[in-house]
Structures are given as C-alpha cells and as structure tokens.
Symmetry: D2
Subunit: 345 residues, 4 copies
C-alpha cells in the first residue's frame, strides 16, 4: 500500500481499559488511519481523547456518531452485550467493523449479527482475537505448521487474572454480565486451540469453584473454571480460567506434540530483570494482559486497516468468533449442569 | 535407634530396573538392614546380586526363599500382578513387607491382600509411594500445610515418560499387563493429590489417545491419557499420563492455591548445567524416574526399616494404595466407556 | 506538549542497519516529528526511504542537505569517524543533533566537537545511549535508586555478538575502523556502570584474544576483550566484549549489591516460547541488538524530540559520551600494552 | 574391588561443619571403610561421633590417635594452618591421607608437606577438591573435552557465601586465619579453571572491598574480592569471592567457548519447586555449600578409599593443591599492593 493514500477515517465506541488502548494506538502508532471521532458515556474519557489524542469530535450516542461522521471504519470496544446491535448498525451504515471479542453473550443476537455481516461481504469485519498477532504465538504456530513438534496430542490454555484485578472485576461483574468464567477468561484459549489444531471440540466437561473468592457467588460468578475438551481429531485439551493468581497475569498455552512440546508464556515475565534477593531467584511478573499484548493489539489493528484498504477479509472470521463463544458456553453449561455436554457448532 | 542393634535380615523379590535399584540401596546405603537373599527368574540378575552386592543366597522361587531364610522383612518388586499373592504369603509367614506400587491390578485380589494385612497389625506393611519422601514434594507439602499458598483450588499431575523409554515399554506391555495408562503413569500423581488436598475424587472424565504411537493399539495400550477429577471438597484436578516426551521424563505437579502456586518439577533438569549453543539457552533433561527419585527411593526404604524396628505403621497405608488404584481405574473406565464415571472409594 | 503544534522537521544521515531503524521509527512511530530528508551514499537505501517511508527529498552529500532543507533536527547515524565533523556542521547550522554512539574514535576531534556543542547551549545535543530508555534497565535502575539491593559492590557487563554477525563485522571492520573491541562492544556497558554507580573508573586491566576467530588478527581486530575496572568509590567492574556467541546476542548486565543482585538480560530470550525437544528444555535466543532494543530506540528518539520541543538538554550529556569513550580506550590501551592503565577522565 | 575384603580402618581429625559431614559419610555411606576413631577438641562433638556414628574411640590429641590406633587412612579436616604438620605426621606414620583444601596457608610449610608426601609414593595422598566429583561439573567437563563448545576463551568463577553465613564467618575469622578472600572462597574455582583449560595463570589483577561488610576491616578481612587472570594459553578468567549474597550460596562457573558456553550453577536452586507468589516467579536458593555438594563429598571420599585399596594416586595431586594456593595468594597480593602480579608456579 502506498504511503500517499488518504488515511482511513476511523471512530471508536468505548474508551475504557481496552478502548483507550486501541484509541491510543490508532492515534499514535497505526499507519494509514486517522481517529476522527470517539463515543463514550464518561465525559472524562472523551476529554482525554480530545486533549491527549487530538480526537476532533466526541459523542455519547454511537448512532449519532455513525450518522454524523464521514467514516470508513469503526472500532467497537463497548461492553460485550452491545456488540451485536452496534455491529449491525455500523454494517448497515456501510462501515467496516473491528469488534472486540467476544462477539456478544446472547447466541441468538450473535447469529443475527453474523447474518448481517455475511450479507455485506464487501465490508470488512474483524474480531479481536489479538493473540494470533502476538510474536510468541506466531512463532509457536510456525513451529507447529512446519512439523517441528509432530502431531498435536494435547493442549492446555490458562487465562488467569491476578488478584490485583479482583476489585475491578467484581465492580464490572456487578454492573454487567461477564458471560461467565469460560467466556470471560478462555475465549482466546479456545480460539488458539482451534487455530493450532484445526479441530473442533465435540464434548466438554466443565467444573467451577469459588474456593479463592467465595464472595463471587453473590454476583453469580465463579473464580475458577476448568474444562476438559475432546476434539474431533483426537486432541484433548484443558482450559483453566481464573481470577486469583497471586503472582500476576498467567496467560499460558501448552502444545504437546508427538515429537516435542511448546509452552507460550510459561512464566509471565515482566521484563528481562532477574532479582536475587532474600526470597531466592525471582522473576517479577506482569499484572495486566494489556501490557502483555500491547504490540499484538497494535498489530491486529494495523492488519485490519490494511485489510480494509486492500479489501481482504481477515483470516479470523465471524464464524470463528461464534464457535469460540459456543464452546465457552458449553463448558459453562457442563459445569452448571454437572454433566458432560456434547458440543454442536 | 541405637547403632549397635542387629540389622534387620532382608530379602528381595525382583531384580529388574527398580528391584536392582532397591537391592543396591539395601546393600550399600540403607542403615540397620542386611540384604541376605534375593529371588529372581533371571540367573544373570542373581549372579549380579551375589557378586556386586554380596547377597549370600539366591532363589528362583520366592516361597522357597521365605520358607528357608530367617527373615525380618521382604521387599516385593516383582511384576504388579504378583504383588497380592506374594504379600499374602510373606505376611502369613510373619514378615514385614515393603511392596512396590501399585498394589496389584485386580481389585478383588488387592482387597483380599488388604484383608490379610489388616489382620496382622503388628507386621509393618508399606507400599512404594516414594514421592512422599522426595525433598521437593516435602518442601511443597510444608508450604501448603503452613498455609503458604492459601487453600488449594486446582492440581495438575503429569507423569510422562520419554520417547527413549518407548521400546522397553512396548516390550514390557507385550509380555505383561501394565494396568493401563492411568494406573501405570499417574498412580503417584493420584496419591499426591489425595495427600496434598486431603480430599477424595468423586467423579472422573478420562480421555485417551494414540496419536503419538499408533502401534500401541495393537497391544491394547494408550500413549496418552488425560483425566479431569472433581474432588469432594471442591478441588479440581487434571492428570496426564504419557509415554512420548521428546525431551525427557516429565514428572510435574502443579498446586494452585488461593494465595500462590507451586510447581514441582516444572522442567526435568538433568543437573545444574545451562548450555548456551546454536539451539538457544538449553537445560538438558532427565531421562529416567530412577535418576530423578534415587534419593527418595533410599529414604523410603530407610523409613520402612525404621518403622519395622520401632514397630510403627507408615503414614501411607494399604488403603491409600487401594484408593489410588480405584481412582486410576475409574479414569480408565471413563475413557473406555466415553462417559463420566462416579468414583466410589 | 500539545498535539496541535507543528511537527519538528527532521533529516537523517545514514540508512544502514541502525540508520534505517531510526528512519522507520521517525516515519512511523515517533510523534511530533516529520522525516523530510535523508542522506546516504547507497541509492537503494535512498529509494527505500522514499518509497517505504515517504521521505520527500534525498541527498548523497550531508552538507547539501543541511544547507538546502529547512530543518529543526538532524539524526547522525553515519560511520563513527564522521560523527564529529557532521555534528559540528549541523550545530553550526543551528540544528539540534541526535548523534549515535560512540561520539567518534579520535579523542581530539571529539573534544573539538564537544567544544562546539557546549558553545551552543540552546541547541539540544543527545547521543545514542539508548539502553537508558530500555524498560528492563530502567526497572533495575529504580530498584537500585530505591535502595532495593543496598550499595553496589560489583558490576559485570557483557556485550557479545552472535556468530551469525561475524561475516558482516569482518566486512565492516575491513572497510572501517571499529574503534576496537571495547569501544565497539562495551561502550554501553561503560555508560551503564557510570549511570548505576555514579562513580568513575580510575584503573583498567584489559586483556584481548582471538581464540575464537584467529582471522581477525589480519584486520587488527580482537574477537574477545575482557577488562577489570577499579572505580573511584570502591565498586569493581568487569567488561566483556565478544563477537562469537553461538546462541545469540548476549547483552547482560549484573549489578551486585550489598543486599541483593540484579541481572538484566541473563538469557537473550527471543520471545515467550519455551521448547521441550530432544535437546532438553530450550529458550530460543535473540540474534540482534536491534530486535532487543527496538522499543528503547523509539523511546530515546521520542525523548529527544520532546527535549527539543521543550528546550531541555538530555540527562545524558556529551561529557558522558566522551568519558565512556576514554574508558573504553583505556581498556584497549591496557590490553595492547600488557599493563595496568590509570584512567584520567 | 570385591565386597568381602576387610574394610579400611579410618580415623578423622576435626568434627566441625565439614568434618562432621565427612564422618557421617564415612560411617553411613562410603563402602569398604570403617570409621574407628575420631579426634576433636570439643567433647560434645566426640560424644556425637560415639553415639550417632558408632565411633569406638575418641581422642583430643591427634598424635595419640595415630600412635595408638591401627589405621589405614586418616581424614584431616582440622583448621587449615594445621594441615601440613598433621599430614606430615600421618604420612610418616605410614598412613594414606585425605586432607581438606586448602593444603595450608604458609607456602613454606606446604612445600615441606609436599616433600614428605612425594617421598612416600606408596601412600595415597588426596586433597579435597570435591567439585571434580560433582555431577554437574563432570558433565560440563565431558562436553568441553568432547569439543562440544570449541576452544575455551574465558572462564568466570563465583564463590559467594550467603549473608546468613556472615556471623559464623566473622567468628571463625576472628579466631583463625582464613587465608584471605581468594584462598577462602575461590580455591575451588582456581582448581576448576586449571582443570578445564589445562592452562596456568601468568598474571593476576586483584581488587578487594568491604562495601557490604565494613566491620570485616577490623579483623583484616575483605567481604569481596575480584581478580582477573591471564592464562598462559590465552584464556582469560575472572574470579569473584564474596560473603554477602542475599539470596543464598552462589557457586557459579561460566565456561565460554568458541562454539558455545556453559554455566554451572547459574542459580543455586534449593530443589525442584517453583513458587508463584506476590514476589513473582521464585526459585528458592541453597544456603550452604554442604547441601550443594553433599553427593560430591561422598563420592570423593569413596574414590579415595578406592584409590587406597587399589594403590593408585588420585588424579588431583599435591601439586594441584600447591598451585591453586599460590594463585589465590597472588590475587590477594595484587589487591594488597594495588598492582599487577606476575605468577610463577
């Protein structure tokens, strides 16, 4: 793509933890795009976007923004339940859409959203499976694809937040529907397992607990979820979602092959410093997935911009998003019902 | 115990890979015991015991040995199916018995064996859960017992043999009954999970595969087994047994607590050497559990000798052995039947 | 700084390995600056800058560029011997200057350059000690400054290139003067030792060898250099420069304090993937300092731009550059002469 | 060696920290030897040897013990200054001698001792360079000897005690002569450097400091010593001795080769447990060299016993001991005098 083309005109809905990160990347790092408008309910967030990022116009109603601005693309980083309606509105307005994961929480609405997306094949729709853009996962994927570890036998995905995030989660889950532990914490792991194996799960056994955070029961949440998946090609997988790691943000993926294994993120190293002190030999840990995946977030958005410019649908489709959601919900259903659940995608 | 007491007179049945290790420890390292006799079918093994270990008399029939020799204790390291009858014979002959794990493969015979053991409370019976004697597990256990990681939420036990052991396993499993992947590879993990949590599993979901070693199907074996366990106190556990690790012998235990985690044996480091070469930064790996647990094997036998001398039953009982076996079999049963299995201990 | 100010107009001299990195950062990532011109001898490099980075005008003569363009700042990334004359020319033309390290190779010319810089205190001069901008070193520095490891006793700095860079070094050193192993490979370590300790070295014992690359003797270079420094406040330091690491690019700094140690970059991890294969447990290694320090390179240039805009001289001064150069040369002199050298800064 | 031979009759002089370890190994683990007598000044130590180890006779005067007992071998683990006279007395009495390192502190007396040893070539004399028996060093040595890392370029040896040992050192050094930081802490590193390279040092530059423990100045000791050595074959080496590591006992050896590096003991891992807690990811550290080298201590004594039985002088000779001592003293001399010291062995 030439450097002299006019940048895409972009708007963003949502300026929270993740939204502000995307907005900052769009304003400062992503090429060939201009962040011209932002929508949020919080005035302070909108002022930040104007002052710090130079966003010209701000809105508190996303439909007004879409109707008013001359936009090419929109980034939807609002609370998950709103993803379907916002996506549908934006697609119908002719925009290409980048929508954070998960696609939604209500499968019926997500199916409706997918229908609209599919009926506009010239507009690009991309969802936020940013791990596929992370250097370490890509490196691992290449080893696997090159046959470097033989055939995959087993995979294990951990998505476990640090204790330091517990208060903000409790606040969030009190006000909104998190989708449950597997949807909230393992949707990326599910996507990675499908991506690495090319297989689909057919059966799930989920278990949940609140040993570490009994208070979560009051808001209908679980601190820990564990699920074992049987894949249609024989691979076995384990998912663990959690919210109470003392050390930091444990996002770990194990890929056991017939001729070698890989672990991505075995330890969540904060940086390249090793500390030798009275505790022993210590590697300080990352506390936030944002820090961990900052480059991946930038790269996925850059790729989306590129896809829009060249008119190419992304590798990861709306179907991938729907399947990941169905699988996460099946794990939750198994845990809730106390029995094995067959998965039909 | 004083140093001047007469050493216990001991015999051993079985001089294979593990039997020869025990015999060597008895002859050279364990205090207050004398290895006076050995029984094996292989004449070369018997000659080795005489020449290298100074064992005075050898036998090819274990009953002859028990009937002839003036023994205090016997070590049973014969193939697993023979454990019950040998134990029963030795107990009835008035000996204290150290029996390798698992207690047997046929639950009915194991129950019979347990009955005999229980009816001779003055004779010591100890089974080979040697990991309880390993420095690293003991260190971890102490942290857990001292509340160092809060309440246990989740445990994960890997018992995965290296590829380098595949031929010897195939030969072994062709000639004998291994008991299946969970009995053969995870019985220690099961014991550790019960030991660390003080909880019993109530439900198992097992899955097995032969992706890495399709030839094992011919002898009715699986290369990999994965099982998810629900414990009666809310802990969730994952077991993985395998026979095809490219790097070495992966015996790893993870203990996730509400306030910290422990991993024992995260990497099977061969020694304290780090190699920086064209592959990157490399830690060579152990290939054998024998090397890994050599000190634990010595310490458990020393503890058994001590128990016999002071007349104290060991912490780990015949019931522990039976329960571990039932749990492993339930995992296998679940995998074979393709459904959840309720465990009744 | 507001977002609406006019960006600084920048030019760059040199588009080689490091120059092209700076140019790409200036064009794509650094805020408040516009890369309007580039100078290089290689036409292909100039075309790349035009096509890929959108640089409007290119030159093969740096004086023409400075005379012709309306510039605020210039980035000097040409071969080291040219740094002084280019800096002097640019400063005299009224520009602020970012000059890569080392400042030069001839101490007389560097002193002259410093004189010119000092006589233009309103123009910003910053040299490329980018490690001070690296997250890991900053994290370590904060621990030290907060007293987290007590008083510094000893420091060790390794700057060792991978074997994979040997050919390109040989070509470079055949055509140009590298400055010698300590100047070429340890100037950053020297800066870090001065930065962390606040002390100056007073004595050096240098030793060099060509065991790993005897052919370097033909071009007057050494493969390895080791120097021990005595600092005026009692700290002791070791420097190692090398060009023949089999695993990758080893840039390691150890800081031993009276109450704890830090190691930065103990292993040059390529990413977050751990490989378990027939070699053992492996962490693949970085091959290039560019990859290692990409973020630091961006941040130091961003900081320079900020300094120019607000009119603030950087923390690291031309004197820091001169002192680091004198120290590196003293190490070389000791090795060449085979005796202790007293350092007078 | 057959198992039915009569065990060697052994005595030990010294039952302190290291002496009691040797005594316990002799009594319980080493084959073909019987610990029949022990000499110490402390009655409690002697009682311990009688009660716990079953030593029959004890002495407070070593000459009485040698004159009275019918001995084959003697183990000298008394304070270093006594090593020469004790060795001479024992050799003249016809015994084979195992003498702890270093051989002594006064080079004249050590030369005299060597003279006596050499004039009794049929008696075995072995000194305590136990690291040559440690699995990790042997593994590293084999890699080097097999050409696995090419030619050695550089070595680095750390012998740094933990803070937890500071009080006992201060007490020890107040009452006795430690020999200085390099003799006390790096004599093993010196032996390893000579062993790995087959080269001798020709020049030393030593520096010392008391930054971490100023109080040591009062007893004429240094907390830290650093020395750079030039070897006669071109290898360069760094030694660091210290007494104030916050994390534990850092005994680390780096071997840089032209085609790979090795680090032995990069981190002093206490066991195989990794802790994930509020500090990050932590490996607890060893606090004592005794724990670190327990197996090596046993193996070297077993080898000595074997050497005596078969009449073979050990690989490591009295000359090795003398040279290591001379080198350590040269480092100290350089630090004391503030200049380079040429080493003549």
């Amino acid at each position: 793509m030439g450097r002299t083309r006019k940048p895409l005109r972009a708007a963003i809905i949502g300026l929270g933890r993740l939204g502000s990160r995307h907005a900052r990347h769009l304003a400062n790092q992503v090429q060939n795009v201009e962040l011209v408008a932002a929508c949020a309910l919080d005035e302070k967030q909108l002022k930040w976007a104007q002052d710090e990022l130079g966003v010209k116009t701000t809105y508190t109603n996303y439909k007004d923004m879409i109707d008013t601005e001359d936009l090419d693309v929109i980034f939807i980083v609002a609370p998950t339940p709103f993803h379907p309606e916002m996506t549908i509105y934006a697609i119908n307005a002719g925009l290409s859409v980048f929508c954070e994961k998960p696609l939604g929480l209500d499968l019926e609405k997500v199916d409706e959203m997918a229908e609209v997306i599919r009926s506009h094949p010239d507009q690009i729709f991309q969802s936020g499976f940013m791990r596929r853009y992370d250097d370490s996962y890509r490196y691992a994927k290449k080893i696997v694809d090159d046959g470097g570890i033989g055939n995959i036998i087993y995979m294990r995905g951990y998505g476990i937040d640090p204790i330091s995030g517990m208060n903000s989660f409790t606040k969030f889950a009190t006000e909104a529907d998190s989708g449950g532990i597997f949807v909230d914490m393992n949707i990326h792991d599910i996507d990675l397992i499908r991506w690495f194996t090319g297989q689909e799960p057919v059966q799930a056994y989920g278990l949940t607990s609140n040993i570490a955070a009994p208070q979560l029961a009051d808001i209908g949440e679980f601190e820990t979820g564990v699920a074992q998946l049987k894949m249609d090609g024989g691979v076995i997988a384990t998912l663990i979602g959690g919210r109470h790691a003392a050390h930091g943000n444990q996002v770990e993926l194990e890929i056991m092959g017939s001729n070698g294994w890989l672990r991505v993120g075995e330890h969540p190293d904060l940086n390249r410093v090793t500390v030798f002190n009275e505790n022993g030999v210590v590697r300080p840990s990352l506390q936030s997935f944002g820090e961990r995946f900052d480059d991946a977030f930038t790269d996925e958005v850059q790729d989306f911009v590129h896809n829009v410019i060249v008119g190419k649908q992304p590798e990861v489709t709306v179907d991938d998003g729907i399947k990941a959601l169905r699988i996460a919900k099946a794990c939750q259903q198994s845990a809730d019902a106390g029995k094995l659940v067959d998965i039909r995608l």
